[in-house]
């Protein structure tokens, strides 16, 4: 499990955001900010990921896919909510179709504020998340053999 702390993989899900934060996540992966120098890789498959980067305020239809993506990520996992919409719904808080925050659906570990969140902010957020991921991993190791978690115990 030690390899995990060196190369965390991220999966990104857009839960009804305006796209601003999403393109900033992508921008963070590209040459000018280049999070890949930390070993962070953007993967499309939640089963390969350690960190869920989530944007947007979650609407009626996105609830279930978001929960599914979260459930599919193997333990230990951390959720980083990016942008103001993900934290509180922001400017769309009063819209009829908005849940108002990622934490209404899944537990969130790190909040990254900003509208849209800047790539540097996102890097900071992911670095904070890595610390939490490490703690979670240590806790899992304490609880028993991390490699042999029983089905159902994972989530």
């Amino acid at each position: 499990m030690t390899y995990l702390q060196k190369s965390p993989w991220i999966v990104h899900y857009n839960a009804s955001s305006c796209n601003g934060c999403d393109i900033e996540i992508l921008a963070a992966l590209t040459p000018v900010f280049d999070v890949e120098r930390f070993g962070i890789v953007n993967t499309g498959n939640p089963k390969h990921a350690d960190i869920l980067l989530c944007t947007g305020s979650v609407n009626e239809r996105n609830k279930v896919p978001l929960k599914n993506v979260y459930d599919m990520i193997p333990e230990p996992k951390v959720v980083v909510a990016i942008g103001i919409c993900a934290a509180s719904g922001g400017i769309f808080r009063e819209c009829y179709n908005v849940q108002g925050g990622i934490d209404k659906i899944i537990p969130v570990d790190v909040w990254v504020p900003g509208c849209a969140a800047r790539p540097e902010s996102i890097i900071d957020g992911v670095v904070t998340a890595l610390g939490i991921l490490e703690q979670k991993r240590a806790k899992m190791l304490e609880k028993g053999s991390a490699g042999s978690i029983k089905a159902g115990e994972a989530v």
């Binding site: 609407n59 009829y96 179709n97």
Partner: protein, 125 residues
């Protein structure tokens, strides 16, 4: 800044299909179909464009009027008609692709036909 000429003709629901057919034969393209709630009635705007010439036809209907679909003339109208049904609750007859209310799944049924929610300014975060 030059204002564009925007002619709007108000017609009856019964004449809708005929008018749309006229635009279709003239070679106009469908720009949009949009609905507006004004009081208890709904205004539905059909906008057409040909060589940057923009024209509108408008029908004014009540909530229980069934509007004929124009998807026979404009195949792409289904997306606007389904939207109109899902957000305003307007019944559209004879759509080529009928999502039956699943295009926009909202937490409130027909949200745009509901009265506005009270302003909640300055509430505690």
């Amino acid at each position: 800044m030059t204002a564009q000429a925007q002619a709007t003709t108000i017609i009856d629901v019964g004449k809708l299909v005929g008018s749309v057919e006229h635009y279709r034969n003239e070679g106009y393209r469908l720009v949009q179909i949009g609905c507006t709630k004004v009081g208890d009635t709904y205004e539905i705007n059909y906008s057409f464009d040909k060589d940057y010439h923009f024209e509108n036809i408008r029908i004014v209907v009540s909530a229980d009027t069934e509007v004929p679909s124009i998807s026979g003339m404009y195949w792409n109208s289904f997306i606007y008609e389904n939207e109109m049904h899902d957000l305003f609750g307007i019944q559209v007859r004879g759509m080529n692709i009928d999502f039956k209310g699943t295009l926009f799944r909202t937490s409130v049924k027909y949200p745009f036909s509901q009265p506005p929610v009270t302003v909640t300014k300055g509430d505690k975060p």
